[in-house]
């Protein structure tokens, strides 16, 4: 056992050392990271959007429980003065019964769309009600390509609604000059590593850099590395990467927005991994927008040397989060009204009495 563990540890250490060596070499070879200035939040209004979501299969129905909360922090002279909530500080969740005939894959896509839908609606309402300077959403502000479906699908209507909501959100933020950011808590994205591989590393290799040998020897490691894992070695506290575009994504229903979607990584605290931020910006304003967004998000994400996440999202998450107990309560209340009905029976595999 000890030998197995030792071997495993050695492998991980070896890969980590390669990542670290490559990061150091790139850092010495080319300037790709920037300092984030410490700012005063002044009188900013920062709004966080998060949702709570649960789904469960029963014998004759699939149950979805969802809610979304907007938590708007009003700062005065850099201090948090008040917090407002939408629809309120503890909204009752909404229940959706889904046709059991959907395949598992359709149900998963539908679930994701339903989650997006309620959070996007909430973000649009929050814009109207709070008129914030910046909206930060928990998760990406870009619809995941895996959610794209054919017009013939039975859940296309929901998909079309969600894409419309995304576009509405982009437009409203752009029109009202509101910064729109998605903070991805545990990103598995590799976009930045791909960008390094395709754009940055060839540049360094073609230059006279003395790091060329090290880079060439370790660059393969980027194929199997997530952005945040690699950037852990590249970024220091209060630093960010350059912003890169999503133009290669070619989201079919977002043509007019594809060149306005960007991603950057920031490192607000010493011992946590870098945090991925997605955002929209007019290409001509990219530097200015990146600077503003990273400064604000970095400022409100320093709560612990080991943990960085925007405070508005921590608060919104605490308000919106749903627990398994809540779906059980809901199901029990429904079952009480229904009486003995097989529709809400637990799946056999989940209800074994023995």
């Amino acid at each position: 056992m000890d030998e197995i563990l030792s071997n495993l540890a050695n492998k991980i250490a070896e890969i980590s050392n390669k990542r670290k060596a490559l990061a150091n070499a790139i850092d010495k070879g080319i300037k790709i990271k920037h300092k984030i200035d410490d700012i005063d939040l002044g009188n900013l209004k920062i709004c966080g959007i998060d949702g709570g979501f649960l789904k469960k299969d029963y014998h004759g129905a699939r149950l979805i429980l969802r809610r979304a909360v907007a938590a708007c922090f009003n700062f005065t002279n850099g201090k948090l003065e008040s917090c407002e909530y939408l629809p309120n500080s503890r909204p009752f969740p909404e229940a959706i019964i889904v046709n059991p005939e959907y395949s598992d894959q359709e149900f998963n896509v539908l679930s994701n769309l339903k989650r997006e839908e309620i959070e996007l609606e909430m973000a649009l309402e929050a814009i109207e009600k709070f008129r914030p300077d910046i909206i930060i959403r928990d998760g990406s502000i870009i619809l995941h390509p895996s959610s794209a479906i054919l017009a013939t699908s039975s859940i296309y209507k929901t998909y079309a609604n969600v894409t419309e909501l995304f576009k509405q959100l982009y437009s409203e933020c752009e029109r009202r000059n509101i910064l729109l950011v998605g903070a991805i808590e545990d990103s598995k994205g590799q976009r930045y590593c791909n960008y390094l591989n395709k754009k940055i590393i060839p540049e360094v290799l073609n230059s006279n850099s003395d790091q060329k040998v090290i880079i060439a020897g370790n660059m393969k490691i980027l194929d199997n590395t997530t952005d945040s894992l690699f950037l852990y070695y590249l970024l220091d506290i209060n630093e960010r990467t350059e912003s890169i575009t999503y133009t290669d994504l070619h989201l079919p229903d977002f043509e007019s927005w594809n060149n306005k979607l960007f991603v950057t990584y920031i490192k607000p605290v010493d011992y946590d991994r870098p945090l991925r931020l997605d955002f929209i910006s007019k290409p001509e304003n990219l530097n200015e927008t990146t600077k503003k967004i990273t400064e604000i998000v970095c400022k409100i994400s320093k709560h612990n040397r080991n943990y960085s996440y925007p405070s508005v999202l921590i608060e919104a998450d605490a308000r919106a989060k749903l627990t398994d107990v809540e779906i059980e309560h809901f199901k029990s209340a429904l079952a009480e009204k229904l009486g003995n009905n097989p529709t809400l029976m637990e799946l056999r595999r989940e209800g074994r009495p023995l």
Binding site: A71, F73, G78, K79, L80, S82, C83, S89, V269, I300, K302, H303, N304, R305, N306, S311, I314, E315, A318
Partner: protein, 501 residues
């Protein structure tokens, strides 16, 4: 009824005994307060036993510590929005549909509303006597007079327990005021106060009470020898053997005069010259009787004739403050208590309450008989007095040193602040109704606050003792007394110097 909060589900409840509830914003709920909640059994009444606050932002010690290093939580998060006050309550009973008080057999539901309790319901629930009750003050956290039925509070005896300075004597004075001011139709009793330190003598100065108070200086109490027999002496001298009692009886017969009286000196002299008595017996008897003679409590007749003073609605204060010897104090208390009980059994005096201050001195636990001369009669009163309307009220700051036999017979206990863990343990053992939560509250009571437990109230109830109507005699403060003392000594030195010159 005001809505005070909502019951929450916790790992422990709600159960038939306990529940927790989140206090509604703007509502004030305090420890010891009575609250109500609807259950399937009816309306349950519960006592708030604990209150605490919680806040998710401060749950992790590590996070709070980190926050201290980096930034201030208050300026980064809406922490106040997450502060909840949670109260824990203990269910004492429930009223069913027919308004019968029952023991709940079904818990309230999570989400149920917790409401305040109306005064009429609470009065009924606690078994208070709003018409003729003894008004000790106010039920804490409620606009309700704490009026206890006299029979329930006194007839099965009463104990007032607390540390020094927490208001025992004050409460006793309130009790005395209530008892002496009862109307003829309310039922009045006579009161005897065994006043160890002269704390009650100022009641005589109060215009409203002066005609109802008689103070007896314990130094003037005399025991008539004509009542004494060898057995009576043996009760005072527990080490006396049967042979010694027989010999003493024989000598008493020789010295007793025609009127039945005799003198203790004559008795001792007769023993000295008696030739039939063994030398050791004679020496022991002479030694013991000399001790008794030294107390100077024996005389030809009893004084005072207690039956003359014990009257309904009146108070006799036996002032022991000038007696230093504890055995003499015990002897006098023993004599008076026995005499009173005997008279009551013969229906010669009215029903009475004997209030014994510093009761642990007169009825100590674990002391040898010769060091606890009055214990036996107090324990007898505790056991048998109820049947003869001879009632006792034991007051003590050291319950652990008070006879368990006597204390356990005090069916009502007024407990004020007690902090000594041994005393608290002793109190818990002597009163079944005290839960560990209540015990915690006893140690944090303020001056003038008390919990009444036992026969007088259906459920333990916290009260704030009312202001006494009589004038309070505040002792001189330590600083002032020290200044006076020093000034007095300086003057006396000066006087001595002048004389010398």
């Amino acid at each position: 009824m005001t809505r005070l909060g909502t019951i929450i589900a916790t790992p422990e409840g709600p159960s038939v005994n306990n529940f927790s509830f989140v206090i509604s914003a703007g509502q004030i709920v305090k420890r010891g307060q009575f609250v109500s909640v609807d259950t399937e059994d009816g309306r349950a009444i519960a006592t708030v036993s604990n209150i605490f606050k919680t806040n998710r932002y401060f749950e992790s010690a590590g996070s709070v510590n980190e926050q201290n290093k980096t930034s201030q939580l208050y300026s980064a998060f809406p922490v106040k929005e997450w502060e909840y006050t949670i109260a824990e309550a203990h269910i004492s009973g429930a009223y069913d549909a027919k308004q019968n008080l029952i023991r709940p057999s079904f818990p309230p539901s999570p989400g149920s509303e917790v409401k305040s309790v109306e005064s009429e319901i609470l009065s009924k629930f606690l078994g208070l006597d709003m018409k003729r009750g003894i008004n000790l003050g106010q039920v804490q956290q409620h606009e309700l007079d704490a009026k206890f039925n006299m029979t329930r509070m006194i007839q099965k005896h009463l104990a007032i327990l607390a540390i020094s300075g927490s208001g025992k004597s004050y409460t006793t004075t309130v009790l005395i005021e209530e008892l002496v001011n009862r109307g003829l139709k309310d039922g009045r009793i006579a009161i005897l106060v065994i006043d160890n330190h002269g704390e009650y003598e100022n009641l005589k100065d109060d215009p409203a009470l002066k005609d109802k108070i008689t103070i007896i200086d314990a130094n003037e109490v005399k025991v008539g020898c004509k009542h004494m027999t060898g057995r009576a002496f043996a009760a005072l001298l527990p080490r006396m053997s049967g042979v010694q009692v027989r010999d003493l009886n024989r000598i008493i017969q020789t010295v007793r005069k025609e009127d039945g009286n005799f003198d203790l000196t004559d008795l001792i002299e007769s023993i000295k010259v008696d030739e039939t008595m063994g030398k050791k017996t004679a020496e022991a008897l002479i030694s013991w009787l000399s001790e008794l003679e030294y107390m100077k409590v024996f005389a030809g007749d009893d004084y005072p004739a207690i039956e003359d003073f014990m009257q309904q609605g009146k108070v006799v204060i036996l002032n022991l403050k000038d007696i230093l010897r504890l055995d003499k104090k015990q002897f006098i208390v023993d004599f008076i208590s026995k005499r009173m009980f005997e008279l009551r059994r013969r229906n010669a005096i009215p029903p009475y309450l004997e209030i014994i201050e510093e009761a642990h001195n007169f009825c100590p636990e674990g002391a040898k008989s010769e060091n606890a001369l009055s214990r036996k009669i107090i324990e007898t009163l505790a056991r048998e007095g109820r049947k003869f309307y001879a009632n006792i009220c034991l007051i003590s700051q050291r319950p652990v040193q008070l006879s368990t036999t006597a204390l356990s017979q005090c069916n009502t206990q007024i407990i004020m602040r007690v902090t000594n863990p041994y005393d608290l343990d002793h109190i818990k053992k002597s009163a079944e109704a005290i839960s560990s939560g209540t015990l915690d509250m006893i140690s944090s009571l303020k001056v003038g606050e008390a919990i009444v437990i036992g026969e007088a109230a259906n459920h333990p109830v916290f009260i704030k003792v009312r202001e006494r109507k009589t004038k309070e005699s505040h002792g001189t403060k330590l600083e002032d007394y020290a200044i006076l003392w020093e000034a007095k000594n300086e003057n006396s030195k000066l006087a001595d110097g002048n004389e010398f010159l």
